[in-house]
């Protein structure tokens, strides 16, 4: 392997998917996951037979208009495989003047779009990686990290013992995805610590951070894990990912244990 990551074996692609194949993805349900994000669950043709996906991977979505115009976008997957009555959950942020996201937001159960994937062989995590897990999200960068946290939770229920720290940076609390689910995980699993940093305004009685991510925050939240070689995943807008990765490298975490995924812009 080109990159001496300590878990490189898990990064080999072993799924059977033909990535070139556009599949019919039928909406099973849609739920608001945050004020600006819709969680859309799909049943995807052949997904189970072909081996599903891994936490951290994404799919390409394609829309075709009646006159033949096509638009493609990439979206991260929010669920571990398999889901209960669905295959793939996307967390779709509504973009002002967006071309694709407003259409996805108004989809109803039973309607279908085209999807292909899963894509990505580096920004992925699996329960065969026993070390502590550090997840760092900016805004809707939470989506692929939720897939990892949810897989961890199902393995923890079967006895896996792993420390998880999830650091989330948001402008305001209404942008928090899956708030109820995160609160439930915090209550249930003492080994999972969720730290939220709000950068614009805070609700009354807020006890979390009210500032941008910084070295002091990271030292307090994850400094103790330095010696235990955590696997670190950072996802969000470019500037955020850049800042978070540099902070962690600056605190002495191994560059090769840090995997990043950046949104455009």
């Amino acid at each position: 392997m080109a990159i001496p990551g300590k878990n490189s074996a898990t990064h080999m692609i072993d799924q059977k998917h033909d990535l070139g194949r556009w599949r019919r993805a039928t909406v099973v349900s849609t739920t608001k996951a945050a004020s600006n994000v819709m969680a859309i669950r799909f049943a995807v043709e052949g997904w189970r037979e072909d081996g599903g996906h891994k936490p951290g991977q994404h799919v390409d979505v394609r829309l075709t208009s009646a006159d033949g115009y096509m638009a493609e976008r990439s979206y991260s997957i929010a669920n571990p495989f398999p889901g209960d009555d669905f295959d793939v959950e996307l967390g779709v942020e509504l973009l002002e003047n967006g071309e694709v996201s407003p259409y996805l937001w108004q989809l109803q159960p039973g309607e279908a779009i085209e999807m292909r994937g899963p894509i990505g062989g580096h920004f992925i995590w699996g329960t065969d990686m026993p070390d502590p897990l550090v997840l760092v999200a900016g805004g809707s960068g939470m989506v692929p990290l939720m897939s990892m946290l949810r897989l961890h939770e199902s393995s923890a229920a079967k006895g896996a013992d792993r420390e998880v720290v999830f650091i989330i940076s948001l402008r305001t609390i209404d942008k928090l995805l899956y708030a109820d689910e995160l609160a439930e995980i915090s209550r249930r699993d003492a080994r999972v610590r969720i730290a939220i940093a709000l950068t614009e305004s805070v609700p009354d009685g807020w006890t979390g951070y009210s500032r941008r991510i910084d070295a002091q925050m990271f030292e307090k939240e994850v400094g103790r894990l330095k010696g235990s070689m955590p696997d670190i995943y950072i996802c969000g807008p470019t500037r955020f990912v850049e800042a978070a990765a540099n902070l962690l490298v600056g605190l002495g975490f191994n560059t090769h244990s840090i995997r990043t995924e950046r949104f455009g812009g």
Partner: protein, 199 residues
């Protein structure tokens, strides 16, 4: 194919956009880990493999080589394209002639300071198609965009334009690189939409 009733284009079709791409005016960043910071005083760039003489430049030497101004559209596999990007850099034709590349060489393997690699057929870097760029938009190339110097191969998807270039290896026979062994296409022609392995 599924027709999505009610879906309408919000952007005008554009012949400059390869299939599945949209125009982006910012400059998004795609990389797999933290940005390596490579100070100019310790920067080195090496050319080796099937060459007459292995060459190693320091920054002073490399930035003294004759350079060209380049204006090209670039296309990222994550679906954004950016038009008329402006660069300055050293053409690969010049590197090939300085190093005396053997006729046996069929591919280059580009190596980056963070351990990243990518493979490109040699015919795709000859004839004014590829450069080693160190200026973007009139300013020194920023670290997050691959500075001090990156490969620039604008006719292929942009992951082939390796950032933080440290070494070019001329080889006989193909050797798929980092993304090419992780589900992405071995060649990566945006106009044929060669995104993934089986495209």
């Amino acid at each position: 194919m599924i027709i999505n009733e009610g879906f309408k284009a919000k952007r005008a079709p554009n012949d400059r956009l390869p299939p599945g791409q949209y125009e982006e005016t910012g400059f998004p960043v795609l990389s797999l880990g933290p940005t390596p910071l490579v100070p100019l005083d310790s920067w080195r760039f090496e050319v080796d493999g099937l060459v007459d003489a292995k060459i190693s430049w320091d920054w002073q030497q490399f930035s003294s080589l004759p350079a060209e101004d380049i204006v090209r559209d670039i296309h990222c596999v994550t679906k954004w394209s950016k038009f008329d990007t402006t660069w300055r850099g050293v053409s690969m034709d010049q590197i090939i002639s300085l190093a005396g590349v053997s006729p046996e060489a069929t591919h280059i393997i580009a190596h980056s300071h963070d351990g990243y690699t990518t493979n490109i057929p040699i015919e795709d870097i000859r004839g004014g198609k590829a450069w080693i760029a160190y200026v973007f938009g009139g300013a020194p190339l920023e670290p997050e965009h691959g500075g001090p110097a990156r490969l620039l191969v604008p006719h292929l998807y942009f992951w082939k334009s390796a950032k933080w270039l440290s070494r070019l290896e001329f080889v006989r026979g193909d050797r798929p690189g980092f993304w090419e062994t992780r589900g992405y296409h071995n060649y990566g022609d945006p106009w044929k939409e060669q995104r993934y392995t089986y495209d």
